[in-house]
Symmetry: C2
Subunit: 321 residues, 2 copies
């Protein structure tokens, strides 16, 4: 933290020595005022985009990484003043040497915060692990894992009757996804990179991203300040090269022009996305219930059920061992 | 050039030792076949986007830098087979130690190619130099210079009755402009980054960019091969930091994924721009003739005439010396 401290600067609110400076606002803050500034910022994001209404039940997805642990801790702070009920969920994807500590880290954090915590093993629920799915399907690991996690979280949240499903996507993630989708002109991706995604069909939770306007730099600082014990970044399957290039570029630009990531994401939301969405809407296939599982699908059988059947077939023939 | 040569590779067309490899197509070429490949690529761009029709008169803007000299040389090759008449123009912006050699370099290249060459001094024509305008106006140098060059070239081309005005914008330029406009969500910029811009009012030339699909790497190789003597890049007024950051990033990504710049620009043209344009069209103020000069303007007096009057006022008072 030493590098973020500025010796002579004083907290804008109490005059004590500043612990860090929020660069985009040139705002020096002590530890206590940084914590409340950070929490207020998340609350403002949630209110601005109408993520949660009073009385609703919110399920937060916790992997045990820094972003999701901070999200859990902040939502635990906000649940009473904002009037929502909070529970947490961790998926056990069956990755050796990773999933067990992911579940344990999340469970411990939830226990410390007094938040009810659910663990869902995809092997128990759907009959296969992520490593088995990766052997059965040629898609890149991150894209397959994304499909499995999105489906499972929405499926469980629907079953348990949650109104909203919260994930730890950060401002840095969103800036990277948006820029990467611009570069490949991936319009159908581009229209979905919003802070709130409404449910595809009735009965499903809306997807919300309360850290949509929070920088990872500040998330890391908040985790340190709250003493959160998170897992190191990086899943064993992630191949990170192209996204690292984007990350480094965006970090450099943010360093030179503090506030740029936020400006870029706001510009996307206010000017670019509405145009793309209006243009794309007539072409979008309407979602309908998957004939196997009832979850939203653009075809007769959803992508997850097709994957699940393929893996089951190969597992049945003993071809994945 | 040594680094671009691959010892063992042979020209795809004639089997001689390859001089360079076009990486996005994995295409090894000797000097002669590279030259014709490069010229055919520019011709294909011109035909694909209907830049010039047979019998038309084309004015090419030549600054004396590598891109515009290559454009001049290629258009001189293409003018007979494609059936257009070609003349060249260089603006003397009155920048000490730069404009004179810009004019001289361009004049010599045009003479060698047998292309008629016009020199327009903005001091003679409008009464002020670029350095004087920069003292009178707070806009960044590149934005002011762009305004002056765009206006002057269009004004002269209209006066001389040209159908099209060709500029040396490259694929690298376009990728950089597009990415930068994405990042700032500058929609009104974004819709104009096309290979052909139709005239804003009747009687004006259409603006065309024949190097829209050509990489600077290949432009540099073509200049070397043709022995073109160009001025080094970089005007004395350009402050290059933010655009350099983008350039380095895009060059890295192109190096790792050859063809990415072209894919990005094509994706912009085919998918993103049509959506933005359809959305923006109803909001665009219609262009009308400037009440002073008759050139297209969104207001009563165009930006150039406002600048010109401001500089004249300050020059009259002796405030710019």
């Amino acid at each position: 933290m030493r590098s973020r401290r500025k010796r002579k600067r004083r907290c804008r609110f109490c005059g004590r020595e500043a612990w860090l400076v929020v660069r985009q606002a040139n705002l020096p803050l002590c530890r206590e005022h940084f914590a409340s500034w950070f929490e207020r910022r998340v609350e403002r994001t949630m209110r601005r985009y109408k993520m949660v209404r009073p009385g609703e039940r919110v399920l937060v997805a916790v992997s045990g990484g820094k972003d999701s642990l901070v999200l859990l801790a902040v939502l635990a702070e906000l649940s009473e003043p904002m009037g929502f009920q909070l529970e947490a969920i961790t998926l056990d994807l069956g990755i050796e040497g990773y999933s067990a500590s992911s579940v344990e880290t999340a469970a411990e954090a939830a226990r410390a915060l007094g938040v009810e915590h659910h663990v869902i093993s995809i092997k128990d629920r759907y009959g296969f692990t992520l490593p088995e799915a990766l052997k059965a399907d040629r898609r890149p690991a991150c894209s397959l894992c994304g499909l499995i996690k999105r489906y499972t979280l929405a499926d469980v949240a629907r079953e348990m009757g949650f109104d909203a499903l919260a994930t730890g996507h950060t401002l840095d993630d969103m800036a990277r996804f948006i820029l990467s989708s611009y570069m490949t002109a991936a319009i159908s991706e581009l229209v979905r990179l919003t802070p709130v995604v409404p449910p595809g069909l009735p009965g499903l939770p809306r997807l919300v991203k309360p850290l949509y306007e929070s920088l990872e730099e500040h998330i890391r600082a908040y985790a340190e300040l709250r003493g959160l014990k998170y897992m190191p970044d990086g899943c064993p399957y992630a191949s990170t090269a192209p996204s690292d290039r984007l990350r480094i570029f965006l970090d450099q630009v943010e360093h030179e022009s503090p506030g740029m990531k936020h400006a870029m994401v706001r510009g996307y939301l206010k000017r670019i996305r509405p145009a793309l969405e209006a243009h794309l809407r007539p072409e979008l296939p309407p979602l309908r219930p998957c004939s196997r599982c009832g979850m939203p699908s653009s075809g007769d059988v959803c992508a997850f059920c097709r994957l699940r059947e393929k893996v089951a077939r190969l597992l049945g023939r003993g071809e994945l061992s």
